[in-house]
């Protein structure tokens, strides 16, 4: 029981919108499509839904070819960024509408509507019109309508993007639970790495219409296959510095270097790009943080418990995220420290040459 994409691609006006993509989404899984705006998340979803027909490749549902099957004839539900409900109908009728179209009997509809409303905590609002509800409740109503018909494939296209930060947090915490109860294949598009991590399941990272990596979310996060995936899956953006390996030492420019042991040991000598995440930079040195960089400090941003450091190192612009509140003078030179176990090494083509030791161990 699965949705299979076999070398599915789409070309629009001579432009490759979706590069050939092969994915298998298993029943009962949460699958996140993570990528910036215009990276192809919505296009890929439209292909999965059958709203668009692929230029090449096949789409299989439970082994049967559904490539040319119209969206109406598939068991697909979709929720959009905009809150799309029928404004003239009550919440109850909104949720019931897909079932009425299927010609279910009244008692069955009533039971299903109430169960779904209960799951999404909107039972108290069933008699109201969508526009009388808050944004969060409107989106809950849209979600309920998508879930009620027990579609095998539920596509959520940035469903929380138009909600307030805190509401988003609340609903996001509920989505994994709702999804576990439904048992369908969920596909969830988002631009935010943190959202992908919170949802768990599997993640496919997208960049310019291409799926760069697909796998369990924490694995993709900690073991990115290439620099593009690492960049897409980091917020703040991943920091990069060019480095070279010579014998038993890995040099990160200037005096910054470390012994080339562990995963670095197997690398042939030569030039590479090192990547590391903002939260792995530190303002002081503990046991493991042995690599020191001298950086020019730009602005700092304080979140209350943590401090973002905007740094310039040579021609590279970095972001550091350190614990605690640090009131540092902008424009000064500071030392930041890095544990080589947190460093990913990418080759000239951007492929992962050596994984970060900490991730390989985890």
């Amino acid at each position: 029981m699965a949705l299979e994409l076999q070398a599915v691609s789409r070309i629009v006006k001579g432009q490759m919108q979706i590069s050939p993509t092969t994915l298998t989404l298993e029943k009962g899984t949460m699958n996140v499509l993570l990528g910036p705006t215009l990276s192809g998340k919505t296009s890929l979803m439209r292909l999965m839904a059958g709203l668009d027909v692929p230029s090449a490749g096949r789409l299989k549902w439970d082994g049967a070819d559904v490539t040319g099957v119209r969206v109406q004839d598939r068991k697909v539900a979709m929720v959009y960024q905009q809150f799309i409900n029928y404004p003239a109908m009550s919440v109850y009728d909104n949720i019931a509408s897909p079932l009425r179209l299927l010609g279910k009997d009244k008692a069955e509809i009533d039971r299903a509507v109430r169960a779904t409303a209960e799951m999404l905590k909107i039972t108290a609002m069933l008699d109201r019109k969508p526009l009388e509800l808050s944004g969060g409740q409107q989106q809950r109503c849209a979600l309920a309508r998508a879930l009620v018909k027990e579609a095998g494939l539920v596509l959520l296209d940035e469903p929380l993007a138009n909600l307030d930060y805190k509401l988003r947090e609340e609903l996001r915490a509920e989505i994994p639970r709702i999804f576990e109860e439904s048992g369908a294949i969920f596909v969830y598009a988002t631009t935010e790495p943190e959202e992908a991590l919170l949802l768990g399941g599997n993640t496919a990272t997208l960049w310019e219409g291409r799926v760069t990596q697909f796998g369990p979310t924490p694995t993709v996060y900690r073991q990115p296959a290439d620099a593009t995936t690492a960049r897409v899956f980091s917020d703040p953006p991943m920091n990069f510095v060019s480095c070279f390996k010579e014998g038993h030492r890995m040099n990160f420019g200037g005096l910054a270097n470390s012994p080339a042991d562990g995963a670095f040991a197997a690398l042939p000598d030569g030039r590479y790009t090192a990547g590391f995440r903002a939260n792995h930079l530190h303002l002081n040195t503990h046991s493991g943080q042995t690599v020191e960089f001298r950086c020019l400090l730009g602005v700092t941003e304080i979140t209350g418990s943590e401090t973002f450091l905007h740094l310039t190192h040579g021609n590279d612009r970095w972001v550091g995220l350190v614990h605690g509140v640090h009131d540092l003078q902008p424009g000064t030179e500071v030392s930041v420290w890095l544990d080589p176990a947190h460093v990913y090494i990418f080759d000239a083509e951007g492929r992962l040459a050596a994984p970060a030791a900490y991730a390989a161990a985890a």
């Binding site: 307030d164 930060y165 805190k166 991590l197 703040p236 304080i302 209350g304 418990s305 905007h310």
Partner: protein, 358 residues
Amino acid sequence: MAQITLSKLAHSYFPKPRGEQDFALKEMDHVWQDGGAYALLGSSGCGKTTLLNIISGLLKPSQGRVLFGDRDVTDAETSERNIAQVFQFPVVYDTMTVRDNLAFPLRNRGMDAAYIKARVNQIAAMIGMDAMLDRKARGLTADAKQKISLGRGMVREDVNAILFDEPLTVIDPHMKWELRTQLKQLHREFGHTMIYVTHDQTEALTFADKVVVMYDGRVVQMGTPEDLFERPAHTFVGYFIGSPGMNLLPADIRGDTAYVQGAPVPLGASYAPIAGKSQIGIRPEYAVLTRGDGLPITIRRVEDVGRHRIIRGEVAGTSVNVIAPEGMAVDTTLTHVRFTPDRINVYADDWRVEGGAA
């Protein structure tokens, strides 16, 4: 540039408000420093946009005065207030070039052409649009258009204040970093008074020197990001700031110890007896899972968010979140949760109580 004074300010959208519940903005008195970076933070409907519209002159308040420096501007038109504003969605003049867009506010004020040219070039360099100055604004991406809006907001040096109305809503996460840093840098360089409206705590905290947290038409706390994080004045601030928000547990407070369903929790300070509802608040960052020390916790879920883990559990029937470092193993031997005593805040009827020496 000017200090902004809000004096006995309140607003109702009803012509004849019958009581406090009819006011979208409850009476407030505030003085905002010249050159400060302020963020108005709250969920939708909290009154933050109403307040911004009053400052910009779009709305006339039902009562109270607004002062820029010593000048009462309550009845002044927007164009007389000498402010700049950046909106949620990019507002650019489509048929003009990027250069003309940036120059527009200066030309309208009859500035000298040489000055305009220099200033526009300077701003364009700062927002990274110097290569596109002679392109038509029509057809640029939303990101680029919003940069132009920001640039147009910055271009005048003599403004009383620059107002931002959720300016990063349409921007991609990666670009947000760049624009936010630029804003911060511009603030440092020019020292304009800036007021930034948002529902996003990260934006508010990282942008502002002082964050004004609003809830139900009221300013519940105004303080530095650190104040809001460490000492939330109201349980709403505790919940709203931080991700996840502050844990709140009903407790009896006796001196320097709180009792959660009879189990003692040491506090960092001593408190007078509290009449009414009493709670302790503790940030997930200051809670640690232990093998027997502290309060018993039932763990429901562990979420890996990359740079740390969020453990969602239950203590005495109340949900409690704990933040654990990246890579920490969470197993069944972790049965209790301990709170750092001097990071615990005490609340009486949802308002924070200051403790005395322990």
